[in-house]
Symmetry: D3
Subunit: 157 residues, 6 copies
Amino acid sequence: MTERRAAGGASSGGGAAGGAAGPGTPASARLAPIEYADASPEVRAIYDDIMATRHSDWVNNYWKVLAHHPPSLKRMWANSKQVMGPGALDPLTKELIYLAVSVTNGCDYCIASHGAAARRKGLTQEQFAELVAIIGLANETNRHAAALQLEIDPQFR
Amino acid sequence: MTERRAAGGASSGGGAAGGAAGPGTPASARLAPIEYADASPEVRAIYDDIMATRHSDWVNNYWKVLAHHPPSLKRMWANSKQVMGPGALDPLTKELIYLAVSVTNGCDYCIASHGAAARRKGLTQEQFAELVAIIGLANETNRHAAALQLEIDPQFR
Amino acid sequence: MTERRAAGGASSGGGAAGGAAGPGTPASARLAPIEYADASPEVRAIYDDIMATRHSDWVNNYWKVLAHHPPSLKRMWANSKQVMGPGALDPLTKELIYLAVSVTNGCDYCIASHGAAARRKGLTQEQFAELVAIIGLANETNRHAAALQLEIDPQFR
Amino acid sequence: MTERRAAGGASSGGGAAGGAAGPGTPASARLAPIEYADASPEVRAIYDDIMATRHSDWVNNYWKVLAHHPPSLKRMWANSKQVMGPGALDPLTKELIYLAVSVTNGCDYCIASHGAAARRKGLTQEQFAELVAIIGLANETNRHAAALQLEIDPQFR
Amino acid sequence: MTERRAAGGASSGGGAAGGAAGPGTPASARLAPIEYADASPEVRAIYDDIMATRHSDWVNNYWKVLAHHPPSLKRMWANSKQVMGPGALDPLTKELIYLAVSVTNGCDYCIASHGAAARRKGLTQEQFAELVAIIGLANETNRHAAALQLEIDPQFR
Amino acid sequence: MTERRAAGGASSGGGAAGGAAGPGTPASARLAPIEYADASPEVRAIYDDIMATRHSDWVNNYWKVLAHHPPSLKRMWANSKQVMGPGALDPLTKELIYLAVSVTNGCDYCIASHGAAARRKGLTQEQFAELVAIIGLANETNRHAAALQLEIDPQFR
């Protein structure tokens, strides 16, 4: 996909406002990512926290497009940090769960971005093959259960 | 769900054949589970393997309804054993992936059965809460990615 | 599911109006089916055509609930008659396609109603078992294709 | 996507027949849009109505590909006019509902075409950001409800 | 669904802690809602805010089950307040978008709870009928677009 | 999609091993298809069986990418042969069911590959148009059933 972004380029220009248009601004066909250089201080602070948290020197398109609406950017980053941060499940397992959802929904962007995250966290080729197999099997048996109108066994309640 | 199974009871009767009707038999409204006592030797052998593999003394409805078509029963059990058996991912992680798919698809039977499997394999309440949170977040961001028509970052390829 | 229908019963009462409330009527929690005896002449005419077309003496809940909005009832019955009527695909094949979609979406009502339709059109138990197997396999490989980010072979274009 | 359309180009040629092949014609790999100049009078009449209804001077690919099967073209245009036409919900709200479905299903074509329709009907950037946030949140909580096997509160019935 | 909640009742007992079990606690089959009387002060504060925000005197099961994991309860309530609160889209439109997603995903709980919310915000029977029609049409055309492998018109970019 | 495959090319190199990396090998961004010339004898034997079964002289990307994990390749080919092979449903009907699922899930690769398979098995343009119409209608009515919270008619049980 190499098409030009229609009004997106225009809407992200204009200096310090950093693409965060006012309430009455018409929506654009497709929003261009807001680069760090063009971002408002508020948006930059979140980009900085994303990079610091991930020990990374760049920010991916999800955040840079979400940045057109700073309250969404701030909210989703807070959610992501809390949900994907340290907890009772290890970081790689968290990414596998994320990938299982993204593959089931057929989200190409998410498969690419969280596939990369899983590899950074140590995913091996063998683990990936097993992940793919389980996702496929679960999607298969989910439909068997629906087609056969299965009653839940009392032991499972 | 307490409704009576219409023709299912009838179709699973009829002695040792255990409900495995011939090719021209009309399909039933809903297939009743084939109990061990009513199952053919071929089906019993698979039930035995299911129980031995799981260190369990009962077989759940998925297999008992699938048993109406022995080639499907045999095939799915072989798949399940291979995919969910020992490998590069630990047994609990495999169940979490399975659950992530089943929840995303809204499969009540599968959530109940694999939720039970995950608990048998040690799932704690804290891990469950994190699983639910990740599944929800991934389903949310998957749609953000679609709505925003995100371009995949070159770094993810 | 045996719960009482909250305001539905009230909204379908009131004689010849047949539950077709005016534009400003507040929406009900769950709409009760409009029975033939309570239906307006306009709705009855469609019920009659449904029964005549199907060589049946009753109308199922889908149509009886849709009847609360006669333009939707009329429109959907016209669509259904055209799409599911005689054509280049035989009637049983059409039902199998319908079931494949309904199972993939996990629509219990649709699986029950179109399962019944398929059986009336001659579905055998063996054919049903194969249908279930194909639906499962396709749902499995669909996710393999997504997970593996497959490129479409030039031969398929 | 710039690949050549295999047999599509051929099937849409041939003058007045306008690509509407006979019942026994083998299916093509991908159907090329039927342009106005190549369309049959029957198809042109619908194109004319689409443009008149929309105050537009062109027809988009959905209709031009559907035109290979005139009964489907006619049927879907009639549905679309009735469902998306003037009613109790205003035109922009109707497009937002359409977009919510299309994003949830990950339909890129539909997001692009109904995104454009929504912008023509006045969608602002702020409204778009809220739409995206609600779609995401609903997809998230839908899965929480499934994972937690929530019982419906009596107050909601 | 009237089945008993297996271990849920037990896990929510135990006094003021209100069911918020420690990290190592085994997961339960199905979590029982935590009632106000059994809730910790932290959870009660959120229940209070939910009721105050909604001008209501009760809390629905979604929040009462989520309360088993207070960080999730707190996070989701903050998200919900921000996303569904006052903004550029009016409250009823927000609920219609929520419903469009929930219906597309087949989430019974969410259809019931947000259907109730929409009615409280003034949804009429006519608007509901139009909502249902649009959701159906969008789901239909989404699949037409996929089946026909439509190319996005340059005008939509 | 014309992007370069990042590490894929590297991981499939290395001679006779044919891309089947050991358990500890890091996962690649996107796996390149393993060509016949680069495949291990084990993988070649399956490629040979695929081509012989299909009376074809090439193997499509699904199998060539799955080949990175020979147990998955072997397992899925065995499943596919059993499920899609001769049975109570004719070969074209089986492909239509497959397509109905793939379109509902929006799987572009699967629509392309099984569309080609259906055409090889005699799908006509008229049958394709009817298939598309039924898939669309079923996806529409599935959502009507959910939105209207339909109760299953006793006659369907």
